[in-house]
């Protein structure tokens, strides 16, 4: 089986959060689209520096949260009024005050599920294999490494110019990361 590699992109390492922010702003202003920064913790101000739009996770939470609450109330109503009505201490079948706690709890469960699904879905996780993992330096990203990755598929990407540009922005190391394709 033949394996041909094409470059996935560049991986540039920076000294710390400050130089990374500066570089990110420059890349954003230069019009790069298929790129990302990688840090061991979320760097304050990076979303702006990268020109990212606010995350859409809250939408998932709201929809699933309200849906959960409605489902909780619906379940209790259906069971207590239609499916299996019981007379308990003279209370009405639809004892809404008694149904509030469960309605609330199921709503919270829905919201939490929404948060997780939104986070994982929008982050495209789990993704156990990624081209960047083939870089040895990249192992430091979860320790104290600050990186920029630019994909070769980006329209602004130029195999000769871009590495130089990154070095000028303060990268201490620039490497080319290859994809592994099998034919």
């Amino acid at each position: 089986m033949e394996r041909s590699s094409s470059p996935y992109g560049l991986l540039a390492r920076f000294r710390g959060p400050e130089p990374l922010l500066t570089a990110a702003r420059a890349l954003r202003d230069a019009g790069f689209k298929n790129w990302d920064t990688h840090t061991p913790f979320p760097v304050h101000g990076m979303d702006d520096a990268m020109g990212l739009k606010p995350s859409r996770v809250p939408l998932f939470v709201l929809v699933l949260g309200l849906g959960g609450a409605a489902a909780g109330m619906l379940l209790q109503w259906w069971v207590s009024v239609r499916a299996y009505p019981l007379t308990i201490s003279g209370k009405p079948f639809f004892s809404w005050p008694a149904f509030v706690p469960i309605m609330f709890e199921v709503g919270v469960l829905g919201g939490a599920t929404g948060a997780v699904l939104g986070f994982l879905g929008l982050s495209k996780l789990p993704r156990h294999h990624h081209e960047l993992f083939s870089s040895a330096a990249f192992e430091h990203v979860t320790d104290d490494g600050f990186f920029v990755s630019i994909e070769a598929s980006d329209p602004q990407f130029d195999a000769d110019v871009t590495p130089e540009m990154l070095r000028r922005l303060g990268a201490v190391d620039v490497e080319t990361v290859m994809t592994e394709e099998s034919t």
């Binding site: 304050h44 990076m46 005050p97 509030v100």
Partner: protein, 402 residues
Amino acid sequence: MTAAHQHPELDKDIVRKHDSPMRSYMVLAIGVAALLLGWLFGRQAPGSWLTAYLVGFVYALTLALGGLFFTLLHHACRASWAVSVRRLAEAAGATLPLFLPLFVPIALGYRRIYAWTNPQNANPAMQELLAHKAPYLNGPWFLTRSVIYLLIWAWMGWWFWRRSVGEDDTPDPAVARRLRTISAPALVVFALTINFAAIDWIMSLAPSWFSTMVGVYFFAGIAPAGFALVAVPAVILRRRGVLSGAVTDEHLHDLGKMLFAWIVFWGYIAFSQFMLIWYANIPEETKWYATRLNGTWLDVTVALAFAHFILPFFFLLSRKTKRNGVTLAAAAIWMLLAHLLDVFWLIAPSTPDGAGGPIGLALTVLGFAAIFFGAFALAARRAALVPLGDPRLQESLEFETV
């Protein structure tokens, strides 16, 4: 993560300089006049008038207490974000001494609204019960306690305002530390006095009723009122350019978040008290809710649930409404009105004569509101609108919310 935030420049002269206090005196005068008019209107039915007076009194008092709570809380937590708006809360708390003279009509006429003062009118079972409560529910002790609460609050409101104001020109870190150290035990005293004031003034209106939650419920109304009370002038003064150096979108956002949190707390407390009493269905407890769930009072109860909880909950959920001055101020004003409804709902249904006609009630309540806001503005005028001497002011100006 967030949009580029502002580093406001605080113009110390603007926050110090005040225009003429004539307007505030006028508002005060209008308030007194409205109260007098309300008395003239309601003179024929003194029980109703006194009920309306009690509603107005408790309403204005809880606004001042809300300001005091805001101050105590932020001193105790060493919260720096709130420093730039804290002076507004301090000024609200500084009006507390006023409530001592305002209490006089209640002290003179409380026998008309508190049924336990007239045991001879009650049935034998009730008489026996009232005899049991007599060591606590008797005129002299009741009045003494009320005066004690008012004195304590007056002292706390004045002291925290005075110490903070004294720092404006000559900042002294020892003072700031003192304020912080005293605020913690002050909160303990605050909690106890609020609790027993609620028991005395609100719970004893229905002398056979009892609920251990009453003090917490009263507090749950005071806290959002305090935050709403700070938010409104913060927005207005920012628009006028006076506080534009001190109050940023971040502050509004945090005020909005805290207001939202206290509204949720109120909803939780209100629902818990209701649900537990509903569930156990014990007549001596359900009586109080039965009054409020029948006839016209049912409409008021439903309106209260929507106005004080459901609507503001969804309105303040969004980040945008909290960061925008107009929407936040609108929500805050709404909450101040909802709080009035809450106080009215707590008091009026349990009084023998009710609160009387709408005109008399409106005049009395408006009178109290005017007196409070007039005094609030006067207290705010006597010093800079921002605690210039607070060591954490700089942090507050620059802070960014989550």
